[in-house]
């Protein structure tokens, strides 16, 4: 009988080693390796169930020296149930792993702000990254949390949602996780602020190739050239510089280079160049997977089995000199 347990556990150890060496296991390998201990455990579990009541103890570790078989007492029964539950738990966990690999679906999506992508190969479902915002620890550059404002189109329903770390969006059995983020230095927005003669302020956020053409501003602002001055050493911030043209249709009024936070004034209008905002790129994981329920049930059974086994052992052996 012990040979079944031995082979099952050796297979589990093999999984561990495979995972360690390769840091991941390819799907076919998963099916084979997960299947093997599963089948062995199932065989062991069935044999144990059939022969169980004939045993005089549940878990066996140390020889008690008692030769005579006697009926199963309550602590022996506890050990028998505990051992069975632990093995069943292992089997259920392995089943959960297999279930997840066979019936689950996973997709990793990398979206830049403003981008939309299809979800889980379903042409009717999509994810749009509207805005991304990292928050920081007070008085530090270390990120504290990330939040992404997204629009999902799932089952023909549009929804605004906020996804943050450890807080995925849940829609039915589908979940969308925020996995990672990066700031793209090649994809950014220029930040402007226009102060109108009567005191109002209008903020603008544009890609470098953009043009401000706002009816509240009698002029058109175009961006001829943009670059970031990277000559300054860390930790000084890199200084963005933009060449702008202020014009009336057909007439160039002013052409100037602004280094953030410079400003340019014309006819009581003042245009501030506040700087830039890197366009964030966010990695999402979209998942359709119910196997965690099976795995959690297996884990609970396994722990219950171990606890019952411990109680049974404590009653039977611990503290006795004759073990």
């Amino acid at each position: 009988m012990g040979i079944f347990v031995l082979l099952s556990l050796l297979s589990l150890i093999l999984i561990g080693l495979t995972g360690f060496i390769k840091s991941f296991a390819r799907p076919p390998l998963i099916y084979v390796i997960l299947g093997m201990p599963g089948v062995l455990l199932l065989a062991f579990f069935i044999i144990r169930l059939i022969r169980g009541p004939l045993r005089d103890q549940g878990w066996g570790i140390i020889d008690t020296g008692i030769k005579k078989k006697h009926p199963l007492r309550w602590h022996g029964l506890l050990g028998y149930i505990g051992g069975g539950l632990a093995l069943l738990g292992l089997l259920v966990i392995l089943t959960g792993a297999g279930w997840g690999h066979i019936f689950g679906a996973k997709q990793t999506l990398t979206l830049t702000e403003g981008e939309t992508r299809q979800l889980l190969s379903n042409p009717d479902d999509s994810l749009h990254l509207y805005k991304f915002c990292p928050t920081f620890y007070p008085q530090s550059r270390s990120a504290n949390d990330y939040k992404a404002l997204v629009i999902t189109l799932l089952d023909s329903v549009f929804t605004w949602d906020t996804v943050s770390l450890n807080s995925p969006i849940k829609i039915g059995n589908r979940r969308i996780y925020l996995a990672d983020c990066a700031m793209s230095k090649d994809s950014l927005y220029l930040l402007f602020r226009l102060v109108l003669p009567w005191g109002d302020t209008i903020p603008y956020e544009f890609p470098p190739e953009g043009v401000i053409d706002d009816p509240r501003f009698p002029l058109i602002v175009s961006f001829e050239k943009f670059h970031i001055d990277r000559t300054q050493l860390w930790p000084e911030p890199e200084v963005p510089e933009v060449s702008i043209n202020l014009m009336l249709p057909g007439e160039l009024l002013l052409s100037e280079r602004l280094r953030a936070p410079d400003s340019v004034s014309l006819e009581d209008y003042t245009l501030f160049f506040d700087g830039i905002r890197m366009r964030p790129t966010v990695t999402f994981i979209c998942l359709k997977d119910d196997s965690w329920i099976i795995a959690a049930a297996g884990g609970a059974l396994l722990i219950m089995g171990l606890i019952l086994g411990f109680i049974s052992q404590a009653v039977l052996r611990f503290g006795r000199q004759d073990v």
């Binding site: 080693l17 878990w59 504290n144 943050s164 770390l165 994981i285 196997s291 073990v323």
Partner: protein, 270 residues
């Protein structure tokens, strides 16, 4: 109660006091064969208890200077493992045959505290309080997953000492020592299994998968397999009885390897 800077400044003198107390406890646990042997051992126990109380205060200071449980980074986890080893020993020292492993517990705690002092002196950047990475900062599962793992490590350490000593000594004391090893192994396995499960829950909440193939998870599975094999091995067969201590020691070696050499991927904050 303490501002973070004061709390951090107090750490080094407290570590020196701790190393002295653990060292003294270790010496008192190994008295020569004289009449007052028992009294000397009890003095060792008293020193060990005093060390544990000061150690608890040190961990509290760390908590107040970092704002999170002391489980982030090598220095903090070492401090916690050292504390939990002594804590587990002292709580279960009533068990018949377990008191002798006070030497093992005091030795481990003392050696770890010494390592922490060395880190303070030669690798200062490793001991300064630091922020948790966002993925851990925003998760309530981080502490829930780590605390049982560190306690399980303590149980496994004591089981290792009991298994090691069960290889030697008189024939009649060997089963008792194996019994003590088994006694430590059971709660260790329960806690370790719970920790793996809670880690799975944390991983699922963070990135969707309840099992991630990264070196630490894979080697933890290997460790779990070895200890489970130790639990289910045995019975009446002679080979199984002799395999038990070796399996426990192999599991302990796997723990050491997992703790120091697999901190990549999800666990690179260590």
């Amino acid at each position: 109660m303490f501002d973070p800077l004061t709390a951090f400044t107090l750490e080094r003198p407290l570590l020196i006091i701790l190393s002295t107390l653990y060292g003294l406890a270790l010496v008192f646990y190994c008295p020569p064969a004289i009449k007052a042997k028992r009294a000397i051992k009890i003095t060792g126990l008293a020193l060990h208890i005093a060390a544990l109380l000061i150690h608890s205060f040190l961990l509290f200071l760390r908590l107040s200077s970092t704002g999170h449980a002391p489980f982030a980074g090598l220095y903090e986890t070492l401090l916690s493992i050292s504390w939990s080893t002594s804590f587990v020993f002292l709580v279960l020292s009533w068990k018949r045959g377990a008191f002798g492993y006070g030497r093992g517990a005091a030795l481990v705690s003392w050696a770890i505290i010494l390592a922490c002092i060395i880190l303070h002196v030669f690798a200062y950047e490793k001991v300064v309080p630091r922020y948790l990475p966002p993925i851990l900062h925003t998760s309530t599962w981080f502490e829930l997953h780590t605390a049982p793992a560190l306690l399980a490590y303590a149980f496994f350490t004591l089981a290792f000492f009991a298994a090691l000593t069960s290889l030697g000594g008189k024939n009649e004391t060997r089963p008792v020592r194996r019994s003590v090893a088994s006694f430590y192994l059971w709660p260790g396995m329960i806690l370790f299994t719970a920790s793996l499960g809670l880690g799975g829950a944390a991983s699922r909440l963070a990135c969707g998968s309840w099992w991630m193939w990264n070196p630490k998870s894979a080697f933890s599975l290997l460790t779990w397999g070895l200890f489970f094999l130790a639990l289910v091995s045995g019975g009446k067969k002679r080979w199984a009885k002799s395999a038990f201590p070796w399996l426990v020691m192999a599991g302990f070696a796997a723990i050491i390897f997992t703790f120091f050499f697999t901190n990549k991927g999800l666990h690179d904050f260590l």
